[in-house]
């Protein structure tokens, strides 16, 4: 990521009494693939609509290449959007749909058709140029929408949950296509989604939003390994949150007393002192399961249930004294070898390096 292409500077957006986005600032680099992720109503779509000029920020401003976009209507901006509903023009052919943006820029018909056709060929839609968009399949329409937005060679492409209407198989293929297109073109993608899979598999950086605020910005790895707060941890769902009182602050690790006994947690930049209450989280994929403890932190737990996610298995364990289930992620083969049955008593253990304080990761 090089210097900032888009700057979002203390932007708020209110609709009457409802605040959709609150005092949000972040910047987007040139050539970056940025995903804005959150559940519905978190303000991610409002953010995107403000970028496109479809909504005007109530406060703050958005700058593109250093120029304020304040008061600039959508038809004077160069930020094409790929719509969730696709919003293709049903009365136009595929070719004319793609060429619409060029036509509005006054590009002559021959040139317009040549450029549109080049994009259609690039996205393997060449043979459908003269068809009506209504005659295409979902995946094909998706690519027409993409071609329509990209044909004008923008610096930034906005995408609003473009894959949510596609089935899983098609969605995975489109993700690969989007990622390779973005690399090849070197333009900035701002991709709004509620899907963690989509955001984490494509984006260079992910912005996690909740109730109009940014909860965390970082690479998928950083967010996955080191959630900034309880919200992000629960949203990503790959950790178990525990609580204890500080017993001893050591060089590398902090010793805490929890409801299930003493635990060691990586110190990071933890600043609490003796006796303070602190939340910490344990990464689910760094917990070992067996009959004996294998690491310094260990609890006896009862195996409740499991869930397959591809070749990984998430186990849910009941630990006395802990309200939430302890989540453990194991490779499917490892799980198979354990031969556990629901109700079995097992020992879950993890090293201090698998447990962290929120925001404490260096």
């Amino acid at each position: 990521m090089s210097e900032a292409l888009v700057e979002i500077d203390r932007v708020s957006k209110r609709f009457g009494d409802y605040t959709a986005v609150t005092d949000t600032s972040f910047s987007i680099g040139e050539g970056e693939f940025l995903a804005i992720m959150g559940s519905s109503g978190c303000g991610k779509t409002t953010m995107l609509r403000m970028l496109a000029g479809l909504e005007e920020p109530s406060e703050g401003e958005i700058r593109l290449e250093g120029r304020s976009q304040k008061g600039l209507p959508p038809w004077r901006r160069d930020l094409p959007l790929v719509w969730q509903s696709l919003a293709l023009f049903p009365f136009l052919s595929v070719l004319d749909n793609v060429g619409f943006g060029l036509k509005m820029r006054g590009v002559a018909k021959a040139e317009r058709d040549r450029r549109s056709l080049a994009w259609l060929h690039k996205l393997e839609l060449g043979e459908f140029a003269s068809r009506n968009v209504m005659q295409l399949s979902g995946g094909q329409r998706q690519r027409v929408a993409l071609a329509r937005a990209l044909v004008t060679e923008p610096k930034v492409l906005l995408l609003d949950e473009p894959l949510s209407a596609l089935d899983a198989h098609l969605s995975v293929r489109m993700q690969a296509l989007l990622r390779s297109l973005q690399r090849e073109l070197g333009i900035t993608f701002v991709y709004v989604t509620h899907s963690q899979t989509e955001a984490f598999s494509m984006a260079d950086r992910v912005v996690i939003m909740s109730r109009g605020k940014v909860e965390q910005i970082g690479s998928p790895q950083a967010i996955y390994r080191h959630p900034a707060n309880r919200f992000v941890a629960e949203f990503i769902g790959n950790v178990t949150i525990l609580r204890g009182s500080v017993a001893e602050v050591g060089e590398q690790a902090v010793r805490l007393n929890t409801a299930t006994g003493g635990m060691s947690v990586s110190r990071g930049n933890f600043a609490g002192s003796h006796g303070a209450q602190a939340d910490f989280y344990v990464n689910a994929d760094q917990i070992a399961i067996g009959d004996e403890p294998r690491h310094e932190n260990h609890v006896r737990a009862r195996f409740l249930s499991h869930k397959f996610i591809g070749n990984m298995v998430t186990l849910f364990l009941e630990v006395p004294g802990i309200e939430d289930d302890l989540k453990v992620i194991l490779p499917e083969r490892t799980y198979d070898c354990l031969g556990m049955q629901p109700g079995d008593s097992v020992v879950a253990s993890w090293p201090a390096a698998a447990a962290h304080f929120f925001g404490g990761a260096a």
């Binding site: 496109a52 479809l54 209507p73 959508p74 038809w75 004077r76 901006r77 160069d78 930020l79 094409p80 959007l81 719509w83 969730q84 509903s85 919003a87 023009f89 049903p90 009365f91 136009l92 619409f100 943006g101 036509k103 509005m104 820029r105 209504m134 329509r148 004008t152």
Partner: protein, 284 residues
């Protein structure tokens, strides 16, 4: 058992209603080809004499020409204004919007006699009563709500992102109206044109009040009726009915055209345009 009885009753009732509406028209059609001067049974034999007589009568020809001369501009104006009204309703939020919509759709609910009388007193103050203009203006008032309602139905099917997508691709609001909204509504515009033409073509009551010497076909028919009971009237009635139903049928075909194609992509079905043309048919 009760259910079957209920269904049977439903069909019978519907059938009776259709009979009630269509029987006079059917009678008019049958007698227009009957050789007997008087509409009585049994029928005397087939003839086209009355049609021949009708369409050589200069007064009838003049009335037909006038009806066409009025109905085309009426259809054009109603469709344009109807589109503007429907688009306002679709696109903008403003104070008193529901009142605006109510006023726009009010005219067909006003009894034709009251409407005609009102129009007459208003237009005569403007020294327009008895002019062709008077018929044209009155008919636009009556036909416009039909056009607006049909176009509004079509606009309601438009993905609101469509206009935004157009702006997003650098089309100004005016360009968006021209290149996106109008093409999207094209079929309903054609349908509105045809149906408002039909509304004007066979509207009688208001035209009777305001037309003066500039009689349209339905008014001419009444003048005939007052003087004599002639089979010519059946011939004219049948001709007017046929042309109106023809316009409405094409209009409906247009508004429903591509329905099958759209149905896959868009769920809301388009209610039949014919439902809007219920209180309007030449009753002889």
């Amino acid at each position: 058992m009760m259910l079957r009885l209920g269904r049977w009753f439903g069909w019978a009732y519907t059938g009776y209603t259709f009979l009630f509406i269509l029987a006079p028209i059917a009678a008019s059609l049958v007698f227009s080809f009957n050789a007997d001067r008087f509409p009585s049974l049994p029928l005397k034999g087939f003839t086209t004499e009355w049609y021949g007589g009708t369409f050589t009568d200069p007064l009838v020809i003049e009335a037909f020409q006038r009806s066409v001369m009025v109905s085309i501009p009426v259809a054009l104006l109603s469709t344009i204004l109807g589109f503007c009204a429907a688009y306002c309703d679709f696109r903008f939020d403003f104070r008193g919007k529901s009142l605006f919509s109510l006023l726009m759709l009010l005219p067909p609910t006003i009894p034709a006699v009251i409407m005609g009388l009102g129009m007459l007193s208003y237009l005569s103050r403007m020294s327009l009563a008895g002019e062709v203009w008077a018929v044209l203006i009155s008919h636009v008032v009556i036909a416009l709500p039909f056009a607006m309602a049909m176009i509004r139905l079509r606009l309601a099917q438009m993905d609101s992102a469509l206009e935004e997508a157009s702006w997003n691709l650098r089309a100004s609001p005016a360009q968006t109206l021209w290149y996106v909204v109008l093409p999207f509504c094209k079929q309903s515009l054609v349908a509105a044109f045809l149906i408002t033409a039909a509304v004007s073509f066979d509207e009688f009551a208001v035209a009777w009040f305001v037309s003066g010497l500039n009689e349209t076909v339905p008014v001419r028919v009444l003048v005939f009726l007052q003087g004599q009971v002639s089979p010519v009237i059946n011939a004219i009635g049948t001709a007017v009915f046929t042309s109106s139903i023809f316009l409405v049928a094409i209009g409906m075909a247009f508004s429903g055209m591509g329905k099958a194609k759209r149905a896959a992509a868009e769920a809301p079905a388009q209610p039949a345009a014919g439902a809007l043309v219920s209180n309007n048919g030449l009753s002889l």
